[in-house]
Symmetry: C2
Subunit: 135 residues, 2 copies
DNA sequence: TTATTTGTAACTAAAATAGTTACAGAAGGA
DNA sequence: TCCTTCTGTAACTATTTTAGTTACAAATAA
């Protein structure tokens, strides 16, 4: 099973925008995702801590913390994904082998390059861009 | 736990190149990675099926199937990683909600774009480029 | 004051990973 | 031809990660 936290979080944020400022509960959002309210609240909690949404007990989510055009998919990615590395590197390689001694740093450098490019792409897409697809 | 198959496979391929055509066993390669020979053989088997290396019982890996400059990291990625999607999408969303109805196709289109860019970056790096770091 | 909702802890079940053992079968080399 | 060695693969374990679920204290709007 692979993490769908970014996808689900984009879904959550989209529902909030589509409700145009009306308070929405985790239960309402969960019914659109077809999942459990508690799972939605866990992600909501992280989105709130990242200052992307505003919530209130008794009312639910009361809206975005800033405009949709100013929230990027990278913001959502950083807020909700636990593991943010696209590729992972094995460790404890044999330092007595020329490959084992340098593979970790070599791959790190290489992956960092790809990671940065991907993050730039995510930062170039705003929640407002996503919303356009739903109206 | 996140897959390190690409990283380990690049390690395997690098050791093969560094041995310059001399046969190498899975046990030798495993000692450089600091892991189990069977794990190395599993990846070797996939690299062989993808026509990236040549193997022989009794001798081990006898060499690359083509020149290091003509083997890209994307070739290795495709050969050895089971799950090749950078981002995963949740399914079974509610079709009666505008977001639930279109989120899957919207995200797929968006992720495909990032996926393609990443694959292009992996295809631009050859095994020969990696080897330069070890000599 | 009361009803409702968040926020979070504590679980379970399923899936994916690396690691491990074991062995049949292939093939090089004496 | 025979023997030794290594691949190729199956079967298994332990660990980690994930989504999903239940439960409830605390907050708060009305």
């Amino acid at each position: 099973m692979y993490s769908t936290k970014l996808s689900v979080s984009i879904h959550i944020m989209s529902v909030i925008v589509l409700m145009e400022g009306q308070p929405v509960t985790s239960e309402y959002i969960a019914s659109s995702i077809n999942t459990n309210p508690a799972l939605v609240r866990r992600l909501m909690s992280r989105l709130k801590k990242a200052k992307l949404i505003k919530t209130s007990t008794k009312l639910g989510v009361t809206g975005l913390a800033r405009e949709a055009k100013d929230i990027s998919l990278l913001d959502i990615f950083f807020a909700t994904e636990d593991h943010q590395d696209l590729f992972s590197i094995h460790s404890n390689t044999n330092p007595n082998c020329p490959v084992g001694a340098k593979i970790e740093v070599t791959l790190k450098h290489l992956y960092d390059n790809i990671q940065t490019a991907t993050e730039e792409k995510l930062s170039a897409i705003s929640l407002a861009d996503i919303i356009k697809e739903f109206i």
